[in-house]
Subunit: 281 residues, 4 copies
């Protein structure tokens, strides 16, 4: 590959430094670069349109930056490789110590691609928009700790449960190590073909994470609670607030036709990252 | 006891009906009543001042109404007995089926008192106010699922942990079956003398509820996260928002000098309620 | 289908009664039956050889009987349908109330088949035998609560963790509601294509169930603990003890080439059974 | 204090080396020592009778050695201090790096005592013996992963639950970080006054650790399972098998009149040990 788009989280000198390192190295070795430094903050929901000749996107930041790019690309399924400038992550194969080695592999077409499923969500009150997520789609109360949601969850049209809870996570295997892990959900290998349904703080003793087939469709209905006139839920895609739902409104979540393509450069695989995480302070 | 204050959640005909039933029965049997129908909605934070001659407060609603009254009484430690008009609860000994029997016991001084510890919280940014809770004091993000908190938790001045999380619950034994149960904390008998410290959705594998001595003091500091300029936490007392904290500000939580006195009328004890709850649909 | 093998747990009058009901009905409607009443107790490990003309096996007992049959058939992949004589289960479509209706469907070829993956295990000390499981393969100490195991777990040759623990469960989706559920593992739809790796009482804070791709291979090594001279583990296939391992010996667990075929008669699907279970006392 | 009993796990050179170091130092500084090198292996259940003039017991080994000594002392409540030769523990204040400093403190009476509650168990089939535990009393199946127990658990005579499970742990706060931690129970400060009731692998979704008052009495009955003729449970005190129970037999567990006295030498308290453990690999 010779033509790269470099996308960075914009707010830090450290990111800018590594953007320059990458750009200079690519140019010095016969490649070309486009830079995009402003569209990818944590809460950004700007669509990213990738020019026709771009063969690969290099993100500078961390797992969050990779997720943001995967979520917001609108036009093309370009392979993504992440440079991790911070904490241990799961999605970034480049670190500040192996940049040149990794760029050599990219420039010499010495890599594999890992395809990751994505989720898509439709709201019943939607005016036409539906959104995508690489990690998870989360139904959350507008104010945590104050208002409890009452959610009815159906899978393929069949009611699974109705809970008073703080919300619900529908995660991909990629997202199993994100919010799902915090909510006590299982860790899932990216090559297991499934969805993870994890309730957030359900007020019941008999709840548990449920692993569904990736082809299953989840429907969440915001029910009224006996003592609230105006229940509302935020619908959060990969950490970005996209929609709100009122009482009686529904959200459908299902596997997207779009997939993400992660460049695999190093021989560090998912299990080694899990092991490292289990040993982390 | 002859002199009662009846406090009800105000928004429903059913509550008003039972208030009248209770009042009429007490008057017909030589007692006296004061009514207070407006101060006790779920989110109320009005202080409740109890007149000198009131010997007992009867609440009409559910566990939430008992909690609200216990939390907001300012001047006197009056015994409280709850009428439960709704779902199975832990704090209400009266049900719609045993009202007259229970009132007879009260009027004939045939009851026991159960003393429950309460919590108190002080914010470092506080202008003099500190608040009380019967169930729990919760540190929660201003928007769940969107912003993660970074909290440092100390006990008696010694750091216990620093977590990225959705928040923290410090609960009394009474509150162990409230939000603490949703966040996967243990169930605690009201007669165990302890505090429960339960993190809410910590982004780590190695967290667990920790039971402290009731005399231990918990301090929570709102830390800055690397990618957020304005972290803020809600401090929620028994489900009522009382304070907000900014980066660097602290909350101290400790056992209150004030206790609550619950009237014990029936022989149904805590363990039978736990068993019923474990068998609940 | 016209030719059936009926297999029952042998120790009870109730099972014999229903065996007779089924046999009589099948014969009266033009079918044929072979009975096998002795090979299928809970701890049976007798191979079941199915005659050439048998088209379907009907089990009389419960989920355990279905599992035992699926595990022990040696020669042919015959569809299995279970009659549930006891508690709510996941694998039996026939109940004592719908026997005739179900038999009509079988006799009229009005059914679907559900294919379930199975596991296979090889011990490094093995003299040629390897065993199969429909639910799970469990590594357990020879005496629980007394001797802790130290296990090293690798996936596809890469070390995942080393734990002091009571053991390890490798479960299929079918087995997710069996021992895996007790050990706090997630519930998994039978149509999710994966393995579940759940440690049993690991003496660590940072463990969690891990969902693997069904093609992943798990290797468990029995390590020496510092203070034990003779560590030993039982290897338990679907609840039946098959092998024991000594210090340094290994067990490989992987997806079997053999699958089980469950007859689907009713429209009650897995999710409705999960919902019923969540509401069970 | 001048008169010490040194108790060591007997099977290792390293333990003998430190026994000699301690003895020589004490003698050189005017104290006296008795050695006991054979009674304290992990599975030992020999009663330890402490001579009248012994003022303090020094254990050489780890937490397990402290527990074994506390459990088996029959005659006197002598303070115990542990030397930790191995992994991070909770009960040992001496490490191989601070031996002389700690011995100076002991010899100069510069220490505090920490009183720890103990448990006692009575079996209904008992011929007069009852046993004590510092950490926990565990009801476990005679063979894990093979036979499930059906247990009825009562507290103060009131039924709490009936579970199919692998067993039950009743732990002291001291024991909360032992087997209880493995079975997903909460961590409990030694100064919280309570018991912890944690089921082991219950085959139900709606179970949870329950914290009881230290004065509560737990009764466990071994019930028959429908498909087993001879259910049996091991009763394990601090990891030592003491009794077995048959169907219909009961075990009563309650706070012992005896307490253990741990010498506090260092300013490292329980919370710092918990923090270290949470950060451990």
């Amino acid at each position: 590959m010779k033509n790269f788009l470099i996308v960075a989280r914009s707010f830090s000198d450290i990111h800018e430094k590594y953007v320059n390192v990458i750009r200079d190295y690519i140019k010095a070795h016969g490649g070309m670069c486009i830079l995009d430094l402003d569209t990818c903050s944590d809460s950004s929901d700007e669509p990213i349109s990738v020019a026709d000749d771009v063969q690969c996107i290099i993100t500078v930041g961390g797992d969050g930056t990779v997720v943001r790019v995967a979520q917001n690309i609108t036009n093309r399924n370009v392979p993504i490789v992440g440079l991790n400038c911070g904490h241990l992550g799961y999605l970034c194969d480049m670190t500040v110590d192996n940049i040149e080695h990794c760029l050599d592999q990219l420039l010499n077409d010495n890599y594999k691609l890992d395809t990751r499923m994505m989720l898509e969500g439709d709201c019943s009150n939607d005016s036409g928009n539906h959104f995508r997520a690489l990690n998870d789609i989360v139904v959350a109360p507008v104010a945590a700790g104050l208002y409890v949601l009452n959610l009815t969850v159906k899978v393929n049209g069949i009611q699974l449960y109705n809970h008073n809870c703080d919300g619900l996570i529908v995660a991909t295997p990629t997202g199993s190590t994100a919010y799902n892990l915090s909510a006590n959900g299982p860790i899932v290998s990216p090559h297991a073909d499934c969805l993870i349904l994890t309730p957030i703080n359900p007020h019941t003793l008999n709840s548990r994470s449920i692993i569904l087939a990736s082809s299953d469709e989840v429907e969440v209905t915001i029910e009224a609670r006996h003592d609230e006139d105006d229940p509302q839920a935020n619908i959060v895609y990969d950490g970005t607030l996209r929609q709100t739902l009122k009482k009686g409104e529904k959200l459908r979540i299902y596997q997207s036709d779009t997939t993400s393509h992660m460049v695999m450069l190093e021989n560090v695989n998912f299990l080694e990252r899990i092991r490292a995480r289990m040993q982390e302070i």
